[in-house]
């Protein structure tokens, strides 16, 4: 789910105590967090949120009229209040891929020929941007990855080629249970909270490290197993280091939508894949994500609702199976996709608040870029897929228009956003060299 750096008990301590001043003082080089964040982004503290929209949409119900953008479309109308801060990109193709298996291409830019093709060997946009943020101004949580029924069953978790969108470059884990997500991010952890905890934790990890070293010595002739041990050691190293403290602006109080699910989902990983809870889970995950992003706990987040050609029941009317409905009546499917836009509006509304990290007084939404992108259309074509973004990334992106980018590909979009987020071109070389200059400010 997450890629946070510090151990959670220390985060929790900060959350409980709300020691904003202490958190700031703890940062190296004497820079306050907001200053460092802006430094990393070249201005306002930017955020990136990726919101894949599975199964596409009928063009006539998705694209607003170029002559009357404010009217939006059947699907996007729930976002009408934010039209001036949206940019539609019509004519975008997913390069090197087609059909639902393009889920692995859309944010990586890697060509994927079919469901069984090997995974990309490059990082997806979220991880590229997280690398840059990490290098310039680490957040307490490097990136946050949540799901809402991200597979048709927990036993289909990360089913090869169908339910993985984000890569580092191996598939990124996602948390499907909002109660688990909340507790891991904001909730009580148990465990020792006394001062020597970190030392004892380091001792415990040190014992594991020593045993890994011994085990590695027995695997010289079993290279495949040796790699597991090497990676395991690297993982322990990754969680051993300290990280940036949690900003004091983070609210650790319960979230109503999460608490409403606690009775059903606490300690119940399988329950988070219950179709009947899709709507409440979506709301709760959005609320968790919004809080973490607003307070600066993380500046990179993704939300995967459903899976490629998955059939989660979308609670519109009596409920429609998502993929099956995509191949039926376009109007009915548009109403289904509108539901997702309504949920996105719930997220956007929570981001449209003063940014606690931005002394210039901007909103989190203005400092963010939220990307809605489909892997294919209902026809399975991955050409001219539905695409828009909301938020100008702190002024780095132009908003308020509909651009015909016919012939451009998702790689150009990825490159454009990477640049807007301050990513060095060398770190995003796999997105190619083309940008959508019409949307770069």
């Amino acid at each position: 789910m997450t890629d946070d750096k510090p151990h959670r008990s220390s985060r929790r301590s900060f959350l409980k105590l709300g020691l904003a001043a202490a958190a700031a003082a703890a940062l190296p080089f004497g820079l306050r967090r907001a200053e460092r964040a802006r430094a990393g982004g070249g201005g306002a503290p930017r955020r990136l949120i990726l919101f894949p929209s599975m199964n596409g949409a009928a063009p006539e119900h998705f694209w607003p009229s170029a002559g009357n953008l404010a009217a939006m479309s059947l699907i996007t109308e729930p976002l009408a209040a934010y039209q001036s801060r949206m940019t539609f990109l019509r004519g975008l193709d997913i390069e090197g891929s087609y059909n639902h298996f393009a889920v692995r291409s859309m944010f990586t830019g890697a060509p994927i020929n079919d469901y069984l093709a090997p995974d990309p060997t490059v990082k997806s946009l979220d991880q590229v941007v997280a690398d840059t943020f990490e290098g310039a101004a680490p957040s307490a949580m490097r990136s946050l990855h949540l799901g809402a029924v991200p597979a048709d069953s927990i036993e289909l978790y990360q089913l090869y080629g169908r339910s993985t969108f984000f890569f580092a470059p191996t598939p990124v884990h996602y948390e499907a249970n909002p109660v688990t997500a909340f507790d891991a991010i904001f909730g009580p952890l148990g465990g020792g909270q006394s001062e020597p905890v970190a030392d004892y934790r380091a001792d415990a990890l040190g014992i594991a490290r020593a045993e890994l070293g011994e085990l590695q010595g027995k695997l010289a002739r079993s290279p495949r197993e040796a790699v597991k041990i090497t990676d395991h050691g690297a993982a322990i190293d990754g969680i051993s280091g300290g990280g940036a403290p949690v900003p004091g602006t983070c609210d650790a109080t319960p979230i109503a939508s999460v608490e409403a699910l606690r009775g059903q989902l606490q300690g119940n990983a399988r329950g988070a894949y219950d179709y009947s809870l899709f709507g409440p889970i979506m709301d709760a995950q959005i609320d968790v994500l919004a809080r973490a992003v607003v307070c600066g706990l993380t500046r990179v987040a993704t939300l995967q609702a459903g899976s490629a050609d998955g059939n989660v029941i979308v609670p519109v009317d009596g409920g429609y199976p998502h993929h099956t409905t995509s191949h039926g009546d376009p109007l009915t499917f548009a109403r289904v996709q509108r539901w997702y836009a309504q949920k996105l509006a719930r997220l956007v509304a929570q981001l449209d608040v003063l940014d606690p990290l931005d002394p210039a007084g901007g909103t989190v939404l203005d400092n963010s870029c939220i990307v809605w992108l489909s892997e294919c259309q209902p026809s399975h074509s991955s050409d001219d897929v539905p695409a828009f973004f909301i938020g100008g990334a702190g002024g780095a992106l132009r908003t308020g228009g509909l651009h015909d980018v016919q012939g451009a590909t998702n790689k150009a979009l990825l490159k454009t956003i990477a640049r807007a987020m301050g990513v060095d071109d060398g770190q995003s070389a796999h997105f190619g060299g083309t940008v959508l200059s019409e949307v770069l400010a």
Binding site: H7, N113, D114, Y160, I207, A235, A269, T324, G328
Partner: protein
């Protein structure tokens, strides 16, 4: 090997590319994380496989912690690790998909700290470690000898023990003994010797022999889903698992209740978990049907379908000692009341009921299987055919091409078969779909809700079909008609039992099913020839060379 015939799942029903019609398949420029290891490419049979480190699944981690500390669900809810990633064959225990990356490591650390806090609680610590109130090095040794041994599934080495005693020395300068127990527990749950099931062995000849404790671990997880208990660890320590006879005796004791002569509940549960993934039934709890077409398909009915299949498997496999052919052809069902009413059969109560004529027999006629492999309003001969091809015949089909032609939408004036026959008439579809759809056509009298229908849209149903690609079958496939003939035809084919054998071994060994056929050659043939039922086949897996020996 004991049979004349050599099986090999990888080449058994080689439909890759569907005879060249579509140039699909995976890309050549890389490998998938769970691509087969090609263990069977050399044609050898009954061979030992590679040395393995098998990261515990979430369920295995759960049973490991509970087994070591005796924690109840009320005391500890379970691990906080990510879900287990599904392999290409749908199994979630593939040895190459289960790794420790940073997210998993963090979840494991969180889990460990949660467990440790519970373990040192006032209601638990005295139970887990009665000497804890006195503390000291002797008590620490006791902890290592009990909880430590259960978690490591073997006695700790001197070097390992010393690290924990060093930790005790550090902790003792400022904190109490319970603090050491807490952090020793955290450390143990990070240990690679706990996190991975070791199948590395010790050098012997030109290969390796698994240690007694490794064999104990493999036996316990394969047959009970849990780690070895103290008695089995004692047995391993005493050399009781160093001989084939010793392994066989231990396997039987773990699997079979001597009082009844039938399988213990733990083995039944393990098999149900296998069957759920083998038959693609994990999505059953979420499926729904168009309420206009299937007004009776309620959540209760859906749940009862799951119960029906579990009862069917339990009866045929465990109570009757059946094999694959029995699974395919048993003419009975065990339907709860709600399902009996939905089917319109009468009866119910979960007792054996003979299936009415036309409703099919065996696994493929189960309501759960039919409903999962169908749309919400209409059947899917393609999904049903794929199930048979991939899960019963081990066919390697290429993925669908990027551009798929949509079938004509249903008008209510034709049969489903008529719509799907577009697949056969379009050359871009026919190459593969001719291998798939004709199998599904034989099930067309069984609707998307799992019930018999005489007509569809008032039209007669054509349930003639064919199975292509079988050994010594006609070029245009083995003709079959209706669900009974399909089941019978499949039941008589050795390829089917051998395929099932490879999948069972895949689940037991954590390897892709393409890689297991050469590890289980003899028992698979015995299963195919009806000399073994499925329970005995599972037990036979513990007698293969792979179970106790490995090679590089």
């Amino acid at each position: 090997m004991s049979g004349a015939r050599v099986i090999g799942v990888a080449g058994l029903i080689g439909l890759a590319g569907c005879w060249g019609t579509i140039s699909g398949g995976g890309s050549d420029d890389g490998v998938s994380p769970d691509d087969p290891r090609e263990l069977c490419a050399d044609g050898d049979t009954d061979k030992p496989g590679p040395r393995l480190l098998r990261r515990l699944t979430a369920a295995e981690l759960d049973t490991t912690v509970r087994g070591a500390l005796g924690l109840t669900p009320a005391e500890w809810a379970g691990p906080s690790v990510p879900a287990d990633a599904a392999a290409q064959n749908g199994f979630t225990n593939n040895v190459d998909r289960l790794i420790v990356d940073e997210t998993y490591a963090r979840g494991l650390l969180t889990t460990a700290e949660q467990v440790a806090e519970v373990a040192v609680g006032p209601g638990v610590l005295p139970r887990v470690l009665p000497c804890a109130s006195a503390g000291g090095q002797a008590c620490a040794q006791t902890f290592l000898d009990t909880v430590g041994r259960r978690l490591y599934r073997r006695p700790l080495t001197d070097a390992e023990r010393q690290r924990y005693l060093d930790l005790l020395a550090r902790v003792s300068t400022t904190d109490d003994f319970a603090t050491w127990v807490r952090w020793a527990t955290v450390a143990m749950l990070q240990s690679p010797h706990v996190v991975y099931r070791s199948e590395l062995g010790e050098p012997e000849g030109d290969g390796y022999r698994l240690t007694g404790h490794e064999v104990a671990t493999a036996l316990a997880f394969a047959l009970t889903g849990a780690p070895p208990d103290d008695a089995l660890l004692d047995r391993a320590a005493a050399g009781g698992l160093d001989t084939p006879e010793g392994v066989a005796a231990a396997a039987r004791e773990l699997a079979i209740d001597p009082a009844t002569g039938t399988a213990r509940p733990a083995l039944r549960a393990v098999f149900q978990g296998f069957a759920r993934q083998w038959l693609n039934l994990s999505a059953l709890p979420n499926i729904s049907k168009n309420p206009a077409a299937f007004p009776g398909f309620t959540p209760d009915v859906r749940a009862a379908m799951g119960a029906e299949t579990e009862a069917f498997l339990d009866q045929i496999v465990f109570e009757q000692g059946g094999g694959v052919a029995d699974l395919l052809t048993a003419p009975v069902s065990y339907v709860p009341d709600v399902l009996a009413a939905y089917y319109g059969w009468g009866g119910g109560g979960g007792v054996a009921a003979e299936r009415p004529a036309g409703w099919g027999v065996g696994l493929l006629a189960q309501g759960s299987v039919l409903a999962v492999n169908a749309g919400d309003a209409h059947t899917s001969p393609t999904q049903r055919g794929l199930l048979v091809r991939e899960r019963l015949l081990c066919s390697d089909l290429p993925p669908p091409p990027p551009v798929v032609i949509d079938l004509p939408p249903p008008t209510g004036a034709e049969t489903t078969r008529e719509r799907y026959e577009l697949h056969a008439s379009d050359p871009s579809c026919a190459g593969c779909h001719v291998q798939i759809d004709p199998i599904g056509f034989t099930l067309e009298h069984l609707d998307a809700g799992g019930r018999y229908r005489e007509l569809e849209n008032g039209l007669p149903i054509d349930d003639r079909g064919a199975i292509h690609g079988l050994d010594e079958a006609p070029a245009d496939g083995l003709a079959v008609r209706g669900p009974d003939e399909l089941a019978t035809a499949l039941a008589t084919r050795p390829e089917v039992a051998e395929c099932a054998a490879a999948f069972v071994a895949s689940y037991a060994y954590g390897l892709d099913h393409h890689d297991t056929s050469c590890l289980v050659t003899s028992p698979a043939i015995d299963l195919a020839e009806g000399e073994l039922g499925l329970v005995d086949y599972v037990l036979a897996l513990t007698a293969t060379p792979h179970f106790t020996r490995r090679v590089d």
